[in-house]
């Protein structure tokens, strides 16, 4: 059975959006900065609601923010 891991482009998307800081993104999606740090490091898998909120902040589809990597 292959193991799946969720990766993301949050860091890149933040920089593409006027170098948005983690605190600002956290405030916009209603989480703590520590959660954004954990997400960027792929140490935390967000809920669907949070994933959609993040995608909406950047104005992209969820798939453009998060990708599944089969290992």
């Amino acid at each position: 059975m292959t193991k799946s891991q969720l990766t993301n482009n949050i860091r890149r998307l933040r920089f593409n959006h006027n170098e948005m800081i983690q605190e600002e993104l956290a405030k916009k999606v209603g989480v703590t900065r520590q959660t954004i740090i954990a997400l960027e490091a792929s140490k935390y898998v967000p809920s669907l609601l949070l994933a959609m909120k993040i995608a909406r902040v950047f104005g992209v589809a969820v798939e453009d923010v998060f990708q599944i990597v089969e290992q």
């Binding site: 209603g30 703590t32 520590q34 967000p46």
Partner: protein, 132 residues
């Protein structure tokens, strides 16, 4: 350090302080009086008030990740507490047999030690999960 981590550290400090005081009192003033050390655990009630005040100033202090960690830590804490409780109960039973009498001192010790084991395991698990 998020508010939940601070709360976990506070709980660890209170539990360890109560344990240390218990050992000191046990060695100096005796078994019955040493139970007074567990009154330190009442400080855990104050922590809720302190952190609620702190939380009001900071804005978002708890989100879905914190809740997930809290949930996992609680499961670990209660599992370890249950192992302690069953182990202590069985050890008491086998030591006293069916006709034996369990001392009130032992009963008080089990209740408070159980509380300490629960909160220590819960808090340590939370701190470890935040580091992962």
């Amino acid at each position: 350090m998020v508010i939940q981590q601070k709360e976990a550290v506070f709980n660890i400090v209170v539990c360890v302080a109560a344990l240390v005081l218990y050992v000191i009192l046990r060695l100096t003033v005796g078994l019955y009086q040493s139970h007074a050390a567990f009154s330190l655990l009442a400080l855990q009630a104050i922590s809720v008030l302190i952190y609620r005040k702190f939380a009001r100033k900071r804005g978002i202090t708890m989100d879905e990740r914190d809740l997930a960690i809290r949930h996992k830590a609680a499961i670990i804490g209660f599992s370890i507490f249950w192992l302690f409780f069953v182990g202590f109960s069985l050890a008491t039973f086998y030591a006293n047999q069916q006709t034996g009498v369990v001392s009130v001192n032992l009963w008080v010790l089990m209740v408070f030690m159980g509380w300490i084991v629960l909160y220590l395991a819960w808090s340590v698990a939370a701190l470890v999960l935040y580091r992962q």
